[in-house]
């Protein structure tokens, strides 16, 4: 077996084990609720029959490990049970919203990734210039500013003052694609501003690390133009760290989306999760947490595997 396949498989296995442990943690949330959830929800006056029916409906009978397996098998098939507060099937509530959330995250990523890589390369090219200093200032702002601060400044500018974009990102199943892009522009821009600085900074660092190496110096010495040295010699070798930081930031995007969705009242998974937490609707919280956690873990795993594959030393073992 080639070493690259071996490492990839072991990372894959590790990712799946992590996912399983995390799913146990999320499942045990309902076990840890203080008191009996059936009497708590139905009230003290509930009859034996209604309590029994409730326990049946929410899968509260039987030994813990059997219920965990049942819950997990159903969840993998997209069936998350029913909501505690309105008894509707959770998969119905989630399907549309999860789509909206991933749409927003993908939208932001498509804007952010190219900008970050190009600006990062430029910053490496013009090191210690005004442009480079501005970028390091922007990075500081991006890690220090709360998401909602960035969001409200954008709303104040582009929505209230200029009136170019709506301040509320209201979309539904019937909204057309172009209309949807227009309405979700401000939330996507907020997410972009939050992640772009970090990605840019890491791209810059990855390229600058390479610029000290002998083959880059050789390229300079044979008279290549500076941008060519960076684009042709440095960039391909910086791909691994860049892919890594892009995947990490995508993972962050999927989570950062929670706050941005609340600011723009966007009907996504994050908004649903926040509402469910305040209503203490445990099955919905579990479902949403499982989706967010799984996306995060999978993206991190993808980052790991891609940076292994992008490392040519592993492709040609000695």
């Amino acid at each position: 077996m080639s070493p690259i396949l071996k490492i990839t498989l072991s990372r894959l296995a590790m990712g799946i084990v992590t996912l399983l442990i995390v799913s146990v943690l999320i499942f045990s949330a309902i076990e840890l609720l203080p008191g009996d959830i059936a009497t708590e929800t139905l009230g003290q006056s509930a009859t034996e029959e209604t309590i029994a029916a409730f326990r049946e409906r929410f899968n509260l009978n039987g030994p813990v490990h059997m219920r965990y397996i049942e819950w997990l098998v159903n969840a993998v098939q997209g069936d998350f049970g029913v909501s505690l507060s309105n008894q509707r099937p959770i998969s119905e509530l989630i399907a549309q919203r999860a789509g909206n959330t991933f749409f927003l995250a993908a939208y932001a990523a498509l804007i952010a990734v190219p900008i970050a890589i190009v600006l990062g390369m430029l910053a490496a090219l013009y090191r210690n210039s005004v442009f480079d200093k501005t970028i390091s200032g922007a990075t500081l702002a991006a890690i220090s500013f709360p998401e909602f601060f960035v969001a409200y400044i954008l709303v104040l500018l582009f929505s209230v003052t200029f009136g170019w974009f709506p301040s509320l990102a209201s979309v539904d199943a019937g909204t057309g694609f172009v209309e949807r892009l227009y309405r979700t522009f401000l939330p996507a821009l907020t997410l972009t501003l939050i992640v772009v600085a970090h990605m840019m900074r890491m791209t810059r660092a990855a390229i600058i690390n390479l610029l000290a190496l002998p083959y880059v110096e050789m390229a300079h010495l044979k008279g290549m133009k500076r941008w060519r040295v960076i684009a042709i010699h440095a960039l391909p070798n910086a791909i691994a760290p860049i892919i890594n930081v892009v995947a990490l930031n995508l993972a962050y995007l999927v989570v950062g989306v929670v706050l941005v969705e609340v600011v723009f009242v966007y009907p996504g998974l994050g908004q649903l999760l926040v509402d469910a937490v305040s209503n203490r609707d445990v099955p919905i919280v579990q479902a949403a947490c499982l989706i967010f956690a799984a996306t995060y873990i999978l993206l991190n795993m993808a980052a790991d595997i891609l940076s292994i594959i992008a490392n040519p030393r592993l492709l040609h073992p000695r």
Partner: protein, 285 residues
């Protein structure tokens, strides 16, 4: 003390900016009852008053003075964030130092537990736990402290492991010094600089985290004045902003004031952290 003062004098403008702002906010937090013109919870005027004396920053939806609530908010939000960070440090650093010094099964179990906790995004984890415990200040502090201690654990363990390979630690061990003596007299003093810088960074994360939860309505609960919650309460006003006159423009600033205060404090702390890290790296050269 003099070398420290000399370094302070030679600090860059950015570090000075950070120090001044953090000091101002700390003083505001400590002397909040003396500085605030009105009490924290009391309804003192009509709803949504404009920015004019005696309500210099207007009043909120219930008619409480915004300036006073911002001042008390400094005390509540910063105080709770500091307490949480301190707790996270106590937990993370003591486990990290112990894991590095003891090694073996203790290190193994603690490190795997931290791996699992770090595999889930902390906001998602916090939301899951807060569903179970409900939103109270105590559970908020405990949840965030435990989640953030994982990062402190990683750092302090790595730093301590580097120090423990040094010859002077070997000498101390051969002299027969005990475990706690080594941690207290050899490891802690030598890991002070990265840990202080980490304290600043952690504080920023915790502070933003609490503000984010409060903004979502899941952190500090009303009527406690809190910057994150104030953003949430005044968010809808932003759509009434109108820049034709100065008075109507202030509506747009209502959510930006507390949000800006949060941003200002985190930027300032980050500027100080940068300077501390720079000093520490300079000293090693």
């Amino acid at each position: 003390m003099t070398p420290f003062l000399r370094k302070l004098g030679a600090a860059p403008v950015s570090a000075w900016f950070g120090i001044v702002i953090v000091t101002l906010i700390a003083l505001t937090a400590i002397f909040a009852p003396l500085l605030a013109p009105f009490p924290e919870f009391e309804v003192v005027g009509p709803q949504y008053s404009p920015w004019a004396a005696p309500y210099y920053l207007g009043t909120d939806a219930l008619g409480r003075d915004v300036l006073s609530r911002l001042i008390y908010g400094a005390r509540n939000t910063v105080g709770i964030a500091l307490l949480t960070t301190a707790l996270a440090f106590l937990l993370g650093a003591s486990f990290g130092l112990l894991a590095a010094t003891l090694g073996g099964w203790f290190d193994m179990i603690a490190s795997r537990a931290v791996d699992v906790l770090m595999a889930i995004p902390s906001l998602i984890f916090a939301l899951l736990i807060l569903t179970i415990t409900g939103t109270s200040v105590l559970s908020l502090i405990l949840v965030i402290a435990v989640l953030d201690s994982t990062r402190v654990y990683r750092l302090s363990r790595a730093v301590a492991q580097g120090i423990l390979t040094m010859d002077y630690v070997e000498v101390a061990r051969m002299r027969g010094e005990g475990l706690f003596w080594i941690i207290r007299r050899e490891v802690l003093p030598n890991s002070a600089a990265p840990l202080i810088a980490e304290f600043g960074l952690r504080f920023c994360f915790v502070f933003l985290f609490i503000s984010a939860l409060s903004f979502l309505g899941l952190g500090l609960q009303p009527p406690i004045a809190d910057w994150g919650a104030m953003v949430r309460e005044s968010a809808r006003l932003i759509s009434f902003a109108d820049f034709s006159t100065w008075q109507t423009a202030t509506f747009g600033l209502a959510p930006l004031l507390p949000a800006g205060a949060i941003a200002l404090l985190t930027v300032s702390v980050n500027l100080i952290v940068d300077w501390v890290l720079h000093l520490a790296s300079g000293l090693e050269e």
